[in-house]
Amino acid sequence: MLDGKHGKGVAYAMKIQVAIGESFDAKRMVPITRAHVALSNQEADIWFAEKLLEGGARCRIAPTVNPGFSLSYFKSRGLVSLENAAMMQRTHDAYQKLGAVLSYNCTPYVMTNVPRFGEIVAFSESSATPYINSVWGARSNREGANSALCAAITGFVPEYGLLLDENRFGDILVEVQATMDSDFKYHLLGYMGKKIGEGIPVFTGLPDHIGSEALTNLGAQLNTSGAYGMYHIVGFTPEAPTLEAAFGGREPARRVVITDKDLDEILEEISLDGRKPVDYAMFGCPHYTLDQVRHIAGRLENKILKRPMYILVSSHVLEMAERMALTAILEKAGAELIADTCPDQPCWEHLRGKTGITDSPKMAYYPKRRGMEFIVRDLDSCIDAALTGEVRQNG
């Protein structure tokens, strides 16, 4: 591939991967069977995708991709400039020609692109890498959007890091004493990256049953507050049947205790002051599942929202919600279900300077530079705030 037999684009992708491999002292390249590319619709993303395309590259492994924004939704409502719409169109065209699966969804690991235990894959997207390593026991390094695209094109990755047994053991024992009684608490636990520190965390003290939404939240926030490719939950994730197995028989390098007070303090730090009036609510960072949409629809039946509510989902969830008549309930209440869209995109210009409310610290972090600022609360408090226009205090 390096010598250009498969075209310039493939040679370029392989050259980059060989350089990455050499920098981590990888001994060889190994084939992958799945990939996910964190498409971002930013200039560097388009530049790189088009450069590969001009070199004649096509994906050997068709990767699922992250959302940009829904052209049909935002164009039909006149919410996006011609220039920004043209950019999204270019991104769409480039990835279509590269042969990507145009899923525009940041949670492929719960539905559309689920690896099996031990499968070697290349997943970028900060919530995705920890999920597939930790929950499914598949193997991927914390790929960048560009290195994951190279892997999709060549069908190989250099073998280093989390692909190797010896690098998958825990480093830090994280004893959770906080009450983990909602999916929202996992957002806050994940945001403790500064306290947890560098390495692979091993959580103890969590409930016996943890849902996929909670696990999605945990991984997403670990990689907002830090850089984590993997974690273990003792007695729950597949490579951690026991504490000893999680640490590979070694002693933890560090121990950390997380209490309710820690979670309260981190919420205080990341949220705007809850006494501000709320202009809108936004959910779905990462994209909401059908169950989360059902929960909101249940709460909004025969009610009218005082403030707009935007719920970001995959196209599959949108389709299911329509079939199940959840969309009708939501629309009647004044909530919008939107597919294919990320909060950190130029389609939200109309929300600049307004105060939002969300359950996701990640949503409150990245779109800051777009002038979107958020109060952060649990989902039910957010729904109440959209119904009344203000946040219930001490709730």
Binding site: E43, C150, A227
Partner: protein, 135 residues
């Protein structure tokens, strides 16, 4: 000839330039592309420019997409760092440097960190596997 230190190649090239040292991890998304100035609040390099300098720092941080876009935006204005010396490589930063063709090395002799000062002129020879502090 100045003093030489061994290092390990991440991204190829040979380059000479003036050193800027950061104790904090670096996110290229939070730099002003038109000046190369660090705009991240509370960062070790807040208000200083990395444009055309050789950046000596621990490593990168943040999501899987914004690091590359940050470097790309700096490059559009001709304000990328000229080279990078890091301690903790991770895939996102490493692939960004390789793609944007910025010479980068790691695993430098510890002695280098005792001797190098802000404003020194150094040569990075990634292919030759050494850094030289120019007299």
């Amino acid at each position: 000839m100045g003093k030489r230190f061994r290092c390990h190649k991440i991204s190829e090239g040979r380059i000479e330039g003036e050193v800027v040292i950061s104790k904090d991890r670096v996110m290229f998304y939070l730099m002003e592309p038109s000046t190369g100035e660090v705009i991240e609040k509370g960062h070790d390099l807040e208000g200083r420019s990395i444009a055309g300098r050789i950046l000596v720092f621990p490593g990168g941080k943040g999501s899987s997409v914004v690091q590359a876009d940050g470097l790309f935006q700096l490059n559009l204005k001709g304000n990328m760092p000229r080279g990078m010396v890091i301690e903790y490589p991770e895939t996102v930063l490493v692939s960004s440097a390789i793609i944007m063709e910025v010479p980068m090395v790691d695993k430098v002799d510890r002695q280098f960190y005792n001797e190098v000062k802000d404003g020194d002129r150094i040569v990075i020879d990634a292919d030759g596997g050494f850094i030289e502090i120019v007299d």
